[in-house]
Subunit: 213 residues, 2 copies
DNA sequence: CTATTGTTTTGAACACTGTTCATAATAATA
DNA sequence: TATTATTATGAACAGTGTTCAAAACAATAG
C-alpha cells in the first residue's frame, strides 16, 4: 500500500507526537504502548516503526518535542523580564521550569526516565546545552570576574539542584513532603531557598582556586 | 507441590532479593524480568508472585533492601566522624550518598524509576524520613536558633539538590558533562560547591520571616 | 502406618508487549 | 496503459506479567 492520501510522512510524525503528548497529559508513559499509539492515530504498529525506527525512538522524538516546549517557555519568560536583576531572572527561570514540570508531569518525567542503550543524540544534547547557556549568561553578569570553568561549575550545580527539587515536587511520593503538619514545603519555596543562599555566597566568593581537581 | 525442602519462604525472599541485587550490579533493571528472576533462583514465575504479590512488589522489596544498605553506609560514615564540624559531616554525608549511587547505579536508579500505582508504603517512607533526620540533626547544631519549619525546609532543599547532582553524575548522558574540554565537572565538586555556598549563607541568615507562604 | 487435610509449587493458558517481513495496495513514472 | 517505487499492512514470533486448576509434597488424624 502506498501513502494514504490523508498524511505525508512528516505530517504523520507530527500528528503521532501530538497524540502521545495529549495522552501524557492525563496518563503516565508506562501505560502507553506502541499499539495504543497506533490505535490513536489509526495506523498500524509497523507503520510507526517504519517512521521512527522503533518505539524507543518514537518516545525520543516525543522528548525532543517536550524539550522544545520547555525551551520556548523559558525563553519567553526571560525575554519578558530583561529589566530585572540577574538573580531575579534566575529565580524566574527555575520557577518556570518547575511550573512546566508540574503542569506536564508525565511529559517531564519521560525525558529522564526514558534512556536509550546508545548515547544521547547530539541534537538532543544541544537542546540541553542551550538551557545551560541561558544560566551562564546571568551568572556572568552576577560575577564578571568568574572564569569559564567556574561558570560551568556553578550553572551545572544550580541546574542539577533545581532539577532535583522539581523531581521531589512532581512526585511527592518518593520523599516525605506532608509527613506531619504545619506548612507543606513546596518546590517553589525550596527553589527560593536554594538560589537565595547559593547565589548570595557564590557572587561574593573570590576565585582563589579552581573548583575541581 | 508443597514446600521444597531447600528454602523456607523467608529464606527464598531474601535469596530472590540478593539475586536481583547481583543482577543490578551489572545490568539495568529494564533488562530484568520476572521470568529471568525465576530462572536465576530456579523457581517458577508463579511462585515469586505468590511470595511478593506481583513483580512490581518484588522490585519494591528490592528497593527496600537498597535503602537499608544506603542507610547503613551513611550511618557508618557519620558515626566514624562525630568529632568533625557539622558542615563537614554534611559533606561526608552527601559524598557517601554519591559514592553509593556511583558504585551501584542500577540499584540506585531503580529506587526512583520504579513507582507503584498506589501510594508508597509507610515503612518505605520511614526509611527516607530517617535520612532527613540525620541532616536536620547537623543543621540544628549549625544554627541553633532555627525553627523546626526552617530545618525541614533546609534539609529538604539540601537533600533534593544533592539528589539532583547524583542523578546528573550517575548518568552523564542526560546532561552534558564532558561537552567541550578542560576539567570535567564531576559530582564530587558540585556537591562541594553546593554545600559550601548554601550552608555558608544559611547558617548566617536570621529568621525574619517563615520560609514558605 | 495409612488416610486425610492443608499448604506450596507448578506449568499451561491468557492477554498483552515490540519487532520483523512478505504481501498487498497505492502513487509516480515510462 | 504498463511498469516501477514506495508505503502500509497484518500475520507471525518471541517476549512480558498474571491467573488458576491441578499436582506434589508435608503435616496431621485415625
Amino acid at each position: 500500500m502506498a501513502r494514504r492520501k490523508d498524511h505525508t510522512p512528516d505530517e504523520l510524525k507530527a500528528w503521532v507526537i501530538r497524540s502521545v503528548l495529549e495522552f501524557l497529559q492525563d496518563f503516565p508513559a508506562n501505560e502507553l504502548s506502541l499499539r495504543k499509539v497506533a490505535k490513536r492515530v489509526e495506523y498500524s504498529p509497523g507503520t510507526l516503526i517504519n517512521l521512527f525506527g522503533s518505539y524507543a525512538h518514537l518516545l525520543l522524538a516525543v522528548n525532543a518535542s517536550t524539550l522544545d516546549h520547555i525551551s520556548e517557555r523559558l525563553n519567553n519568560r526571560l525575554s519578558a523580564s530583561q529589566e530585572l536583576e540577574p538573580q531575579q531572572q534566575l529565580l524566574l527561570f527555575a520557577q518556570e521550569y518547575l511550573a512546566f514540570a508540574k503542569e506536564h508531569p508525565f511529559q517531564w518525567r519521560l525525558i529522564f526516565e526514558h534512556r536509550l542503550d546508545d548515547d544521547v543524540p547530539e541534537w538532543q544534547q544541544n537542546r540541553i546545552n542551550q538551557l545551560f547557556e541561558l544560566i551562564e549568561l546571568r551568572l556572568i553578569t552576577l560575577r564578571p570576574t568568574s572564569t569559564s570553568a567556574e561558570l560551568q561549575q556553578a550553572s551545572r550545580t544550580i541546574w542539577a539542584s533545581v532539577h532535583g527539587i522539581c523531581m521531589l515536587d512532581v512526585d511527592n511520593k518518593i520523599f516525605a513532603t506532608d509527613n506531619s503538619s504545619e506548612l507543606s514545603i513546596n518546590g517553589e519555596s525550596m527553589i527560593q531557598s536554594l538560589l537565595k543562599h547559593y547565589l548570595s555566597s557564590w557572587k561574593l566568593s573570590s576565585n582563589t582556586h579552581t573548583p575541581s581537581q
